[in-house]
Amino acid sequence: MAVERKWGMAVDADKCTGCQACVVACQSENNIPVNEPDHFLQRRAIQWIRIERYWEGEFPDVRARFVPMLCQHCENAPCESVCPVFATYHNNEGLNVQVYNRCIGTRFCANNDPWNVRFFNFWEPVWPETLRNQLNTDVSVRSRGIMEKCTFCIQRIRRTTRDAGLEGREVTDGDVVPACVQACPTNALVFGDLNDHDSQVAHLREDGRQYRILDHLGTEPSVYYMAKIDPYAAEGEHA
């Protein structure tokens, strides 16, 4: 495959209802251990995608805002340059990938990650007996002491590309669907190739509501957010 792709995602905050379906889908697709309440209290829960909830306004006029937060797969990723052993690097499909068995766990990347979307395995992961057979065979189970993060479901990208190659066709827009995108009931998440100008995600990138979180850091994130349309918002508060 000589095609140079640049995978990206568009997240429509206006469509997000904060239902957390993407979170659950991601957990089961990517063999992420079950997050018990303790893990959240210790701030060690692993959620490759999470719904950040912010409150806006003063009581009683309070509104909840949901921001689905996942690895931004930056073009100019700050986490990559600080890894001493190249355990995280950029591949030619625009993905920020993590090599689990190369990682030594300095957690430097996690520190230099402004979105806090890199996760460290503090313990050896365990699953309840009933979930043993649920593990995805396409995804490696991470051992303790290493970092992990959203891969844009690279196993699905690989499988689709391979299948398309066998069938002798090109991968078209909408062929690759990460677990979170698949699970989203309101289609708030859109995934695709940003280099393909006809793809849905490339069109959304041109949208007037588009912004990127912490864009000022200059890391060129591949995840584009569409601002919330809020009829109650004060003049000029939202795009």
């Binding site: 937060m69 052993v85 520190n111 996760f119 290493i146």
Partner: protein, 459 residues
């Protein structure tokens, strides 16, 4: 210079070799106590390896905790060795004589201990050699990423450690020969091997002095680079507000000198008290070191103020919120006050008085204070910044050290003191040759009715 008994070479040999040749019995109890501390820390680390990095108190926003604070602290302490030894040797400061070797030995053990911290800290310590110079994984064709400060760090530290060790060994050779001539049996063979055939003839002395000067000059750039590189561990991170100040490198270097020289003074005071070396580590040595401390501390304080000022000057909300946390919010407000008092505002005004500077007990406690302050400084730089990395408040967090981390921190202190004391058991920790040279260069001047020793500056 003060009035003091005249010392003969015989006195110097007897007094300075006392810990080596006639070790007092309490010394072994002290070593045993420290060894228990070190063993506890080894146990703590074994526990962490066995159970996982989760035994530390770190969590998602605060991925670096006490171990990194302690790492920076020990690298800072290790700066004293070269600062005192090389700079004072090159500038021919007479009062360096008793302090140099203690400083260098403190450097070696503090640096070695600091180098252990990344091992404790990583998630898979058994793979850490992939990021260290001798262990690069070339066999698989994978290079380390030279853009990462965690590759620069081991390189700089191993260079500095090698340089300082060579420096110590080189300057130890004449003293080893003295020990060779005064010991018997196995130890004589060991000292004989280590002294490398030193006979004390003119050519050997000449070579040794030239080599000492050369190493002093060569090691100075390394001394500046090591802590600059440690500061870049932090300064390269765009993600953490409060860390990407361009002033970090000189700020860390001067801070390291501040804590390092204070550490040397504490160690010298301890040695003088333990081995009754009042005639060698004299009050006027403390006086001179304290004067140096006033200058260094004030320079460091200037950098501290500038760093804060440049941080809040753009009045950006994330930075302001971080500084508010550092200065005004519990528990960092208490830490901050203690840090300022201990790091600067109590010791420096005290050192302005000659009576304090020449009081060994007070010097010991004030320099200890400086180091507590400097430990807190690293804590205040590292932890709050990670707690509020970015304005995304959803991911703000907090940090509590775990018992294992506390054990490892305490164990690192035991390890450094165990190292320094073990060294003083086998080698003279005050250079005999330097002390004798000082006596040889000494002249006397008449002050009133008494003759007072006055030292020459060597040409």
């Amino acid at each position: 210079m003060q009035l003091r008994p005249a010392l003969t070479e015989r006195d110097i040999n007897r007094d300075l070799l006392r810990p080596v040749l006639a070790t007092p019995i309490w010394f072994y109890f002290l070593l045993g106590g420290l060894a228990i501390g070190v063993c506890t820390a080894i146990g703590g680390f074994a526990w962490a390896v066995n159970h996982g990095t989760g035994v530390y108190g770190i969590n998602r926003p605060v991925m670096w905790g006490f171990l990194l604070v302690n790492f920076v602290f020990w690298v800072g302490i290790s700066h004293a060795g070269v600062m005192l030894s090389a700079i004072l040797r090159l500038s021919n400061a007479e009062w360096r004589r008793p302090a140099t070797r203690a400083a260098e030995v403190l450097t070696i053990f503090a640096l070695g201990t600091a180098a252990l911290h990344p091992v404790f800290h990583t998630g898979r310590p058994w793979r850490i050699y992939w990021s260290m110079p001798p262990g690069y994984d070339f066999g698989r064709g994978i290079w380390p990423d030279v853009r990462s400060p965690f590759v620069w760090d081991p390189t700089a530290i191993s260079t500095y450690l090698t340089g300082t060790t060579l420096f110590v060994i080189l300057l130890l050779i004449p003293d080893l020969a003295v020990l060779r001539d005064r010991s018997s049996g196995l130890m004589q063979k060991v000292y004989g091997f280590l002294s490398m055939g030193w006979k004390g003839n003119t050519r050997q002395w000449k070579l040794q002095i030239i080599a000492g000067f050369l190493l002093s000059a060569l090691i100075l750039p390394v001394f500046v680079s090591v802590h600059s590189i440690v500061s870049w561990d932090f300064a390269v991170q765009i993600a953490v507000e409060g860390w990407h100040a361009t002033i970090f490198a000189p700020y860390f270097v001067i801070g390291a000198v501040h804590s390092g020289v204070a550490g040397v003074i504490s160690v010298l005071a301890l040695l003088r008290w333990m081995f009754r070396w009042e005639n060698y580590i004299r009050d006027d040595h403390f006086d001179a070191l304290a004067r140096l401390m006033i200058v260094v501390a004030t320079a460091w304080f200037y950098f501290l103020v500038i760093e804060f000022f440049l941080g809040i000057y753009p009045a950006e909300e994330p930075e302001i919120s971080l500084r508010t946390l550092q200065v005004f919010e519990w528990p960092f407000n208490a830490t901050f006050i203690v840090f300022l008092l201990m790091g600067y505002f109590v010791p420096v005004p005290l050192w302005l008085f000659r009576r304090v500077r020449q009081n060994v007990a007070l010097m010991f406690w004030t320099t200890l204070m400086v180091n507590i302050g400097m430990w807190l400084e690293r804590f205040i730089i590292i932890i709050p910044s990670l707690m509020r990395k970015q304005p995304l408040t959803f991911s703000w967090g907090s940090y509590n050290p775990s018992p294992i981390e506390l054990i490892l921190v305490a164990g690192s202190f035991c390890l450094v003191f165990l190292g320094v004391l073990t060294f003083s058991k086998f080698f003279p920790i005050i250079p005999l040759a330097d002390a004798k040279e000082g006596v040889a260069l000494e002249t006397h001047v008449r002050v009133g009715k008494v003759m007072v020793p006055a030292a020459y500056r060597e040409e």
